[in-house]
C-alpha cells in the first residue's frame, strides 16, 4: 500500500572511493539497475533499507484498519473482496521485506525496529475506520495515493525494489477500484448512506494528501534521491497528480472534497487546493495520531502470541530432518 518518508535518508558516512562513486552514478544515469552484490555508496544502502522497510511496515500495519471490518462487511461479496485485499497487503509486506533483506538487514531486525518504535510506517494508518464507508474511502483514496507513489518506484534504480513494486502495482490495481465501487454504491444510496460516504471523504481527504510527505520546500533529501533515481517525482508533483485525478472522481458520484479553496485553474487544467495542516501531520508522525498506540500494541501482541508457532515450526522441522537422517542410515 504505501510509502512515506521518501525524503528521509541518512547523511553521508565517511569518504568513499570517488572512482567507484563515479562508476556507480554513471550506471544509474544509463538507467542500469543496481543489484544486491554490486558496489553502492553506504548512504544509498541505508536510504533504501529505511525506505523499503518502512514501506513493508506500512503494508503490514495497513492490514489493521481494514481488518477491523472483515467480520462486518455488508455482504458476502464485499467480505470476499476485503479478505482478498487484506491478504494482498500481507503479501506486499513480504515482497518488500525480502527486497530490503538483500541489502544486508535481517527480517528480525526490521521487525524489532517497528515494534520498538524505531521505524516508521505511513501516517495514514493511524486513523480509525469507524464506518463501512471508510473502507471504501481507504481503497479509493489511500490506495489511490499509494499507486501514484508506487508506479514511479517500478523504475527505481535498485533492482529488487523495482521488481517488488512491479508485482505490487499489478496486484493493487483492483484495490482502488473496489474502494471506489463501494463508496459509489453508498453515494447513490439512501440519504443516510450518502451522508456516510461524504463523512468518510471529509475525514480521509486531508490525511490522504499528507501521504505524499512534506512539501518540496521542506524536503531536504529530494535532490539526492532523484539523482540516485530512487525517486522520480517530487512530493508536490505526485500530490498534484493525485488531486487532479481524484476531484473529478468525487464529483462524478456526487461527493465533494472538504476544501473550500478547491478550484480549477483554467490555464493549466490543474486543481488548486488549500493549505495542508502540517501540524496534524507532524503530530501523527511523532506518535500522537488517533490510533498510533493501538496499532503498535496490535503488532506487538501478534508478534508475542505467534512466538510459540515460530518455535514449534523450527522444532518440528528439526525432528523431521532427524528422522530422515535415521531412515537414510538404515537403508
Amino acid at each position: 500500500m504505501y510509502t512515506q518518508g521518501l525524503n528521509q535518508s541518512v547523511e553521508d558516512g565517511g569518504p568513499e572511493d570517488t572512482e567507484l562513486l563515479a562508476r556507480f552514478q554513471a550506471k544509474i544515469d544509463r538507467e542500469e539497475k543496481i543489484e544486491p552484490n554490486d558496489w553502492m555508496p553506504e548512504a544509498y544502502r541505508q536510504t533504501l533499507i529505511r525506505q523499503i522497510s518502512q514501506h513493508a511496515h506500512s503494508e503490514v500495519v495497513g492490514m489493521l484498519p481494514e481488518g477491523n471490518w472483515l467480520t462486518r462487511a455488508p455482504s458476502l461479496r464485499r467480505k470476499a473482496i476485503l479478505l482478498a485485499k487484506v491478504q494482498d497487503e500481507g503479501g506486499h509486506g513480504l515482497y518488500l521485506y525480502a527486497a530490503a533483506e538483500t541489502l544486508g538487514i535481517s527480517r528480525a531486525e526490521m521487525v524489532d525496529r517497528l515494534l520498538e518504535g524505531r521505524a516508521r510506517y505511513s501516517s495514514i494508518f493511524n486513523y480509525p475506520t469507524i464506518t463501512w464507508a471508510d473502507i471504501g474511502a481507504v481503497g479509493w483514496l489511500v490506495d489511490g495515493a499509494a499507486i501514484m507513489n508506487q508506479i514511479p518506484l517500478c523504475r527505481c534504480s535498485y533492482g529488487p525494489y523495482a521488481r517488488a513494486m512491479i508485482r505490487i502495482c499489478k496486484e493493487e490495481s483492483f484495490h482502488q477500484r473496489q474502494g471506489y465501487e463501494a463508496i459509489s454504491r453508498l453515494a447513490q444510496g439512501t440519504a443516510a448512506q450518502k451522508r456516510m460516504a461524504q463523512d468518510a471523504l471529509d475525514r480521509w481527504w486531508w490525511p490522504s494528501l499528507m501521504m505524499f510527505g512534506p512539501s518540496d520546500a521542506e524536503s531536504s533529501h529530494t535532490s539526492r534521491s532523484m539523482r540516485w533515481k530512487i525517486k522520480r517525482f517530487t512530493n508536490d508533483e505526485l500530490r498534484q497528480k493525485f488531486v487532479d485525478a481524484t476531484v473529478p472522481q468525487a464529483r462524478l458520484i456526487g461527493l465533494e472534497p472538504p476544501d473550500p479553496e478547491l478550484r480549477r485553474d483554467e490555464e493549466s487544467g490543474q486543481w488548486r487546493f488549500g493549505e495542508i495542516d502540517w501540524n496534524e501531520f507532524n503530530e501523527v508522525l511523532s506518535g500522537n495520531g488517533p490510533c498510533n498506540r493501538e496499532r503498535i500494541a496490535a503488532r506487538r501482541r501478534a508478534h508475542a502470541e505467534g512466538a510459540w508457532v515460530r518455535e514449534a515450526a523450527l522444532a518440528y522441522a528439526r525432528k523431521r530432518r532427524g528422522r530422515r537422517v535415521v531412515a537414510a542410515a538404515a537403508e
Binding site: 491478504q87 494482498d88 503479501g91 513480504l94 528480525a108 515450526a313 528439526r318
Partner: protein
C-alpha cells in the same frame, strides 16, 4: 545436520528459500522471489500463498538460498567479456549469396 542448517537455526529468522514458479507447462521455472520458512515443505506452502494468488503457477520449486553458489559480480568481465568478441558464433556473421533464401 549440515553446517548451513546449524547456521540458520542460530539466527532469529527462519531459513531463507528462493522460489521458482512455472507459469504453465512448456516454460522454464522462473525465479520470482524469496521467503523464510522452517523447512522446505513449509516453504512450498508459503510460496503458494505468497506468489500464486492469481493463478501465476502450475509448479513451484523452492531452494534453500544458501545452497545457491553464484558468480561474483566483480568477476563479470573475466567471465563474460570473452564471449563478446566471438561474433562468428552468431548466424548473422556469415555472407551468403542472395539466391540462398533460407538457411
Amino acid at each position: 545436520m549440515s553446517d548451513s542448517d546449524t547456521r540458520a537455526e542460530n539466527e532469529r529468522d527462519w531459513p531463507l528459500f528462493e522460489v521458482f514458479i512455472r507459469a504453465r507447462t512448456g516454460l522454464h521455472h522462473r525465479h520470482c522471489g524469496s521467503l523464510h520458512a522452517a523447512d522446505p515443505e513449509m516453504a512450498l506452502a508459503r510460496a503458494r500463498d505468497v506468489y500464486t494468488r492469481r493463478g501465476e503457477g502450475t509448479s513451484i520449486w523452492v531452494v534453500a538460498s544458501d545452497r545457491i553458489y553464484a558468480s561474483d559480480p566483480a568477476d563479470k568481465d573475466m567471465l563474460f567479456e570473452p564471449a563478446m568478441s566471438k561474433i562468428y558464433r552468431h548466424p548473422s556473421f556469415y555472407d551468403l549469396p542472395d539466391d540462398v533464401e533460407n538457411m
